[in-house]
């Protein structure tokens, strides 16, 4: 019973915060709401017996990537979104169109949920096949990461190096 309550609470926070992220005018508020959504997702990972992923989510996403976003929003003094005049009269932004579009999107979500819920083998409870201790074990995770997935690990490290160099070069001023 407390598990179901925790799941619904985290799910509600995640979905609610995400909807507010895309609905906010002020980008600073969007960033903070997204951090709240990431916190809720971290709670869901803990429920799925993945404590390392949960903590990594907080460290990497909420603690590093979002700080980067926050810095950029602050340094650019990101203006609030004002739709230009020609944007306001764009045919896809008329109220009728947006209402129908939202309705269709809602229908799509309901269909997807029904389809996912009806697949019989997916209805099995989550903690079926192996116990929490081995799935959540950091030792096993490290062992698997460095033996079976070594190539992906090394390739990712090169990717981060390239991204770092690329970001520094792209954000440099022209006269330097």
């Amino acid at each position: 019973m407390p598990e179901t309550f925790a799941f619904y609470m985290f799910a509600a926070i995640a979905v609610g915060a995400s909807v507010l992220v895309i609905g906010q005018r002020n980008p600073m508020y969007s960033v903070l709401l997204l951090i709240a959504s990431f916190g809720a997702l971290s709670g869901l990972y803990i429920q799925l017996d993945a404590p390392f992923v949960a903590v990594a989510q907080i460290i990497i996403y909420a603690g590093a990537i979002m700080v980067l976003f926050l810095f950029v929003v602050m340094l650019l003094n990101a203006p609030r979104e004002d739709a230009a005049e020609w944007d306001r009269t764009h045919p896809l932004r008329q109220p009728g169109v947006t209402r129908w579009g939202t309705l269709l999107a809602g229908l799509l979500i309901v269909q997807l949920a029904m389809a996912l819920g009806k697949m019989s083998e997916l209805g099995a409870p989550v903690a079926g096949r192996s116990d929490a201790a081995t799935i959540g074990s950091v030792t096993e995770l490290g062992r698997s990461l460095f033996t079976r997935h070594t190539f992906a690990f090394e390739a990712t490290s090169i990717l981060i190096l390239v991204a770092m160099i690329g970001a520094t070069v792209l954000a440099r001023r022209e006269d330097q």
Binding site: V15, V21, P27, L34, L44, E81
Partner: protein
């Protein structure tokens, strides 16, 4: 016990919200944030599937997804800074000079 389908429905909802944000918002930073929402939704379904299959591979894939997301956010924001410096606007419709 929470069935797997609950997690998948949640992941699909978050992915849909992220996609809606990418299409509807006219602010480059909010578009990048919506992409992050999508990547997180995918992470959630990976971990859920991994747990249901009793395997660690789901969690390992999430590390790579997180790392790629970090790299992409860094480069994306560097591009945003460079674009903003050029045109003082964060509206993607302002950068249409390559259109025919």
């Amino acid at each position: 016990m929470i069935p797997l389908s609950y997690y998948l429905i949640l992941s699909a909802t978050l992915f849909a919200i992220g996609t809606a944000g990418v299409f509807m918002r006219r602010n480059l930073i909010t578009i990048l944030l919506s992409i992050e929402i999508m990547l997180n939704a995918v992470n959630l379904s990976f971990v859920a599937f991994g747990r249901a299959a009793g395997d660690l591979d789901g969690q390992i894939i999430t590390f790579f997804v997180m790392t790629v997301a970090a790299a992409e956010a860094a480069v994306g924001l560097a591009l945003v800074i460079a674009l903003f410096r050029h045109k003082e606007s964060l509206n993607p419709d302002a950068f249409t000079s390559l259109k025919w």
